[in-house]
Symmetry: C2
Subunit: 463 residues, 2 copies
């Protein structure tokens, strides 16, 4: 913070823009903003400021840009890639006050929201109109739509419904110098100029600050159902996924847990899972009741052809939720199974999933660390989760070393170091191995074009 | 072409890269490359060069970049926005030799293709694997996938299936200086770095040249069907579209023709259409036979509630195609109804479609020009088509003046000056009215970042 003339001056300047009640500089009040949901990353912000409008965001950025003060946009702080950690200090721009659902239009199938609305709040609001907002990140109870869009968040239904980015039709954003732009709009087709909507989606607050989102909705499916199958190993579960797709089905849910996850979930939640199984596959669909019954029957029917040792199906909502609970509590179960967790986010083409999990297990053994893996079998995005004693520094270093090899394994298999969590500060050291030198340099030039002074969430995505 | 040392030198240089058989400088041979499918735009290229690989494209761009020679990438030349016209001269980079389908993977649901493959060739090839490539631009018989991606082409199934951009998972591209990059890949989820896949998609060859595309496929639907309804006016047809969506259906097809189009199509093709109707709505769906039957029954049933005077439904393929013929031959019918046509491409939010068509008709009357309108009722993208005598210069100017007002009307209604054809050279004068000054300047800076010498398709998308 090169031109910093003291915390008091900053507080006074920001208070003029948003009112003193929305500026915080007391060290104790800043503690929650030093970290996000990522293990091992912390920063030290000078202030937290809570704007109430795009105009206030604009004035804050213009002010910070003139002074080269870092600005770290923050929603719920649920990033798993240290995307919301103020690693270079500066001010945290907390967007949680901007939490209004501005409109829901059942003819245009559009919602317009401020960035601080939680994913779950929008899903619930549109459901009252008989509509559906499909993106379903694991953190949806707390995560904000601004954060979802800033990271192009995925979730459990990516195979059938795609990711957050597929639902962003338009946005209002504030550029680093305070200029306000609108890109896209209430349109399913719009090719007027470069696609800034999707360039800003997933840019993690490093190119602009999102202040309003125009999101696509769908009619709500009338019914849904879930099935669960046990397999002797992940290879056979993965072949069953291929069988589902060969049967012409793109189901709403296709999730897997490896043996270690199954045991952790069962120890944590006592769901009655078969802890002797090598892998568990959850499959599910939504749509008309007939269609759901038909696809569930087809999927359940083909599981044994691929080696499933046991298959259950539930179409009643409560039973269906009970089956999904095995997947939803994978992370909390692993977190409680002892010590700390680092949840990673590597993806490969669907057909390479067994290869990836095999490589993960080999790497974990070689480094003598515990990595349990679960994730999205339908779209190839996995969450290998390192479990370790946070007091054991050497153990932590072994986990880091193992994950560095896991990232390279994903790249070698034609995959990615991050499928849905983002690069943040946590993945930045590994990014150029995936992108290559030419693209890494190009990405840095794009950053410079949008943010010449480098104030927007510095230390994330690009150097 | 500031450093041009003569056609012979250019021919010799390019021949060293691609072989003399793939370089053309004879004036007669250049004629087809002076124009594309857009009325009233022509340029004068120095040479046409036909590379066979990304490496050859790389060497051509490095050569042109050093000499500041414009390079205009071209597929089938079916642009309706003068996107492929060499308006500033230079060399045309014809990508039609790069027309191999490199792989089709039925487990990963991926096709990898070179840019010169036609849309129809890919659709036919994947159908043999029981798969489906949904994007369906009107020009699909001739248009190339490189052109489709470069313009983020739409088509008849955007409401249910989205546009071309939704199917682009990865690409190889050559930057202006000849560097080759890969962005994205065989992955449904990948958030590693800024989304260059979607920034290059729709960038119309002004940021990079696409040399390989990784495209998403879907299982082929087992059945499809089509219905046709007549309405007294477009307002009631548009309300019926709202009724379909309120019934929880996102159908594969929802197309409209206005009264003028109906009469032109009937005069051209003698399909037995009701030429007294005020509007015609085509609706259709695909999926399992049960599902198609159910949605067609529901849609046909609600049309009369919104004023339909007559409804037909066809589930047999031949009958279904016969109904769709009314839509597919709208443009040829208008083209033959007398003189020249300028096909425009304005879009508005679905609910504003009647307002837009009303405005178009009012503007056409005021300027004493004939504009017939058809298009995609489901996604709000319309094709108002000016029909005029090309020998009547004053008439042509009246059409241009009318369309300038139509573009502004679309913007005023929250819409776009181009839904699916692109900006090209044709829409560039109108673009900043939609984007605003701040975004227009930002788009120009992005162009400069990718292409400092301004060699890539100059005069398109941005200044």
């Amino acid at each position: 913070m090169r031109t910093l003339s003291g915390t008091k001056a900053i507080s006074a300047d920001l208070s003029k823009i948003v009112g003193s009640v929305n500026v915080e500089v007391r060290p104790a009040a800043l503690v929650p903003y030093r970290t996000d949901a990522t293990f091992g990353f912390a920063g030290l912000p000078t202030a937290v400021v809570r704007p109430g409008s795009a105009q206030e965001v604009s004035r804050i950025l213009a002010w910070a840009n003139q002074r080269s003060i870092p600005v770290v946009p923050r929603g719920a702080g649920s990033s798993l890639a240290a995307g919301a950690v103020p690693v270079q200090g500066g001010i945290v721009l907390a967007l949680t006050r901007m939490n209004r659902i501005l409109s829901i239009d059942p003819v245009d199938l559009i919602a317009v929201v401020e960035p601080g609305v939680t994913t779950q709040a929008l899903a619930a609001a549109v459901r009252e109109h008989g509509l559906h907002y499909p993106p379903d990140p694991g953190s949806k109870r707390v995560s904000t739509l601004g954060g979802n869009v800033a990271t192009n968040a995925g979730g459990l239904h990516g195979l059938k419904y795609g990711n957050t980015g597929g639902y962003v039709l338009g946005l209002q954003a504030v550029l680093a110098d305070g200029q306000i732009i609108r890109a896209g709009g209430r349109l399913l087709k719009d090719v007027a100029g470069y696609d800034l909507v999707h360039l800003l989606t997933g840019s993690e607050g490093t190119l602009a600050v999102l202040t309003e989102l125009t999101l696509a909705l769908r009619p709500a499916p009338a019914a849904s159902g879930t099935g669960l199958a046990y397999f002797p190993d992940l290879e056979s579960a993965s072949k069953a996924v291929g069988g589902v797709i060969a049967a012409g089905i793109l189901p709403a849910t296709l999730e897997f847990l490896d043996a270690r996850c199954i045991r952790a979930v069962e120890a944590h939640a006592r769901l009655g899972l078969d802890t002797a199984a090598g892998a568990l596959l959850l499959f599910g669909d939504d749509g008309s009741p007939d269609e759901v019954a038909r696809t569930l029957r087809t999927m359940a029917g083909l599981m044994p052809d691929h080696g499933a040792t046991s298959v259950q199906v539930a179409t009643a909502a409560a039973e269906s939720e009970a089956l999904l609970a095995a997947r939803r509590c994978a992370l909390p179960a692993l977190a409680r199974s002892g010590g700390a967790t680092i949840l990673e986010d590597v993806g490969v083409p669907r057909s390479r999933l067994p290869d990836l999990v095999h490589r993960i297990n080999t790497i974990a053994e070689a480094h003598e660390v515990t990595i349990a893996t679960f994730g999205h079998a339908g779209d190839g995005n996995t969450h290998p989760t390192g479990c370790f004693d946070p007091a054991d520094l050497a153990g932590r270093e072994r986990v880091d070393a193992a994950f560095a090899e896991v990232f390279q394994a994903a790249i070698d298999l034609g995959g990615t170091i991050t499928g849905e969590h983002g690069v943040g500060a946590a993945k930045l050291p590994y990014l150029s191995a995936q992108l290559g030198a030419a693209q890494t340099a190009l990405q840095a030039r794009i950053k410079k074009t949008f943010d010449p002074a480098g104030i927007l969430n510095p230390g994330k995505v690009t150097r």
